[in-house]
Amino acid sequence: MKRVLIALGLLVIVAAAIGAAAWPRAEFIPASSPAAWAATPDNIARGAYLARAGDCMACHTARGGLPYAGGRGLATPFGTVYAPNITPDAQTGIGAWTADDFWHALHNGIARGGRLLYPAFPYPNMTKTTRADADALYAYLRSLAPVRQPNQPHALRFPYDRQIVLAGWRLLYFKPGVYAPQPARGADWNRGAYLVEGLGHCAACHSPRNGLGATGARLSGGQIPTSGWYAPALDADHEAGLGTWERAHIVQLLRTGVAPRGAVFGPMAEVVGQSLQYLTDADAGAMATYLTSLPGAAAPRPPAVPPADAVMKAGKQLYEHHCADCHGADGRGTRIAGQSAYPPLAGNGALTMADPVNAIRIVLNGGFPPATAGNPRPFGMPPYSPHLDNAEVAAVVTYVRNSWGNTAPSVTPPEVDRWRAVPLD
């Protein structure tokens, strides 16, 4: 009996010890000095650049709202999370926050006052940001005009609205820690890794999420919750395909939105338009260096059942009528005045991924790449949802997925129908 009690007691102690070790204790790293977050032009400019790199404004600004005043709702499978006001208003923003408070939120995912933050705010990525960069961001946000705009409470379903559930989630999936450079990889690679894994929070979309909304360790592609777009794997040549791209073309895509091998669309148009176009060539290049170094996941593709001849024939006819003027009968796209105007469809991974959602939605909705300094007047693609029925869209998408060397499963009219009704926003 005594032995059993001792054994039980030991078990409890060991379990408690493991729990304590695993518990993501809030890490504190002090500022190097108050000068690190002082309102100097230098700190503010550096913070503004980092805020662009982190695309903070995209979530912390509602459509038509004032920058950084919050209010944009992020739909998640657990309910809607509303981004807060991060202007320096004392009552409704972060005007009362100290530099340490800000660091605590960015690094530990804990708001001033101890409230745990939802990882819709990508602090599992932001935690990699250095204290010096966090301080510059703080200096920049403090320099904004304060906006009095109360935060909208989150609309999360039970039990996801409970802090205790969030604490459990953090125990499972979050560990604070600044990015640890790998000296063997060199400065360029490390800078890229720091931006991609940290502020850039690429994994928020480009990594699969599990049932509890946690992202994986790899940038292996993922369905963006609720919006339906598929963010391609950045480590697989048959999806984003970056491994076979020239570094200069990746930089071009990130900074201008268009490149000889593809153009950005959907949510990535926002990321380039609001964030990546403002990066220096050196930083975009560092990101390219890191991304192309990711171990390639050359997943063997299941043998595609060849599409029906009748569908391919119908698709070809539609393609020649609606698409070939711009993308070319040879699918190689078109350059106008020395710049890529219409992306190639031959060898374009965006079209041939197993999940055809992006290809379908591009045909249905068309759209413009973002206007950027490097491509201020982009060429647009007409939306075909008003002009083609589901069978026609399915045929033309099947055709481009299976021509010029492309191979991918056929697309069916019901798949098109499914995306016709999904709102774009």
Partner: protein, 248 residues
């Protein structure tokens, strides 16, 4: 005699194919120039596929919804592009189109369409009850003092082709489109810069009046010269944020 030629050509073709395959990434990188014109018209093909162009005029048969944008004042068109981008107007496809375009580019696009001229199909008057047409005509040309609704022509010009810089023409629009806009103002889903004069006016109209106005407007032909009026009588009957003016 042809057979041996084929025999020797086959390995050559295979070799060529293998070479081409090896070259594919480089070939794909070098995009061809195809003589596609470097014009704004080409850049905004995404707009004209619905709104029409000289080469792709709006359909004269069947249901129509997309509004005429050709020849509307640039100030008005720019305001609308901004409104879609900022959520003051709700049409997800339009928001998706303009969401990531710059103010400069939107200005250029608005100016371009303001200089275009397109014929607009006209709704047949024969299908509309005479009483409804008469009420529509009355509201458009005279307004209704009891409802405190000014005449449309008071702001949109005597010829209803709009007025510079930012008042749109009302002729050459599909009836469904006019109904949808007045409905959206009544329901608070369409907004303009405050004070939102059209929201006020739409709120004073009954649904029957909305139908009467849209029926008359959609069946009124677009004049050959559809240029907006240089200006209208000031002050406007109601203050409009889209067309700011000094008011006493």
């Amino acid at each position: 005699m042809r057979l041996p030629v084929f025999r020797s050509a086959l390995p050559c073709a295979a070799l060529l194919a293998a070479l081409l395959a090896a070259l594919l990434p480089a070939a794909a990188a070098a995009q061809p120039e195809r003589g596609v014109p470097d014009t704004l018209a080409q850049r905004v093909a995404a707009c004209t596929s619905c709104h029409g162009s000289a080469a792709n005029p709006p359909p004269t048969q069947g249901p129509r919804y997309y509004p005429r944008i050709a020849g509307k004042p640039a100030g008005y068109l720019y305001n609308q592009l901004q409104n879609f981008r900022n959520g003051r107007r709700q049409y997800p496809l339009m928001t998706y189109m303009v969401e990531h375009l710059s103010d400069d580019y939107l200005h250029e696009i608005a100016a371009y369409f303001s200089t275009q001229h397109l014929p607009a199909p006209v709704l047949a008057r024969s299908g509309i009850p005479a009483r409804e047409l008469a009420r529509g005509r009355e509201l458009v040309l005279k307004g209704d003092a009891a409802l405190k609704v000014p005449a449309c022509v008071a702001c949109h010009g005597q010829r209803l082709t709009g007025a510079l810089p930012a008042i749109p023409g009302l002729v050459g629009l599909p009836r469904d489109y006019i109904n949808a806009q007045l409905g959206a103002w009544r329901n608070g889903t369409r907004h303009a810069h405050a004070p939102d004069c059209m929201a006020t006016i739409a709120g004073r109209l009954t649904l029957a009046d909305v139908a009467a106005v849209s029926g008359w407007l959609a069946s009124e032909p677009l004049p050959d010269d559809a240029d907006p009026a240089p200006d209208v009588a000031r002050p406007l009957p109601l203050a409009c944020g889209s067309q700011p003016e000094a008011r006493p």
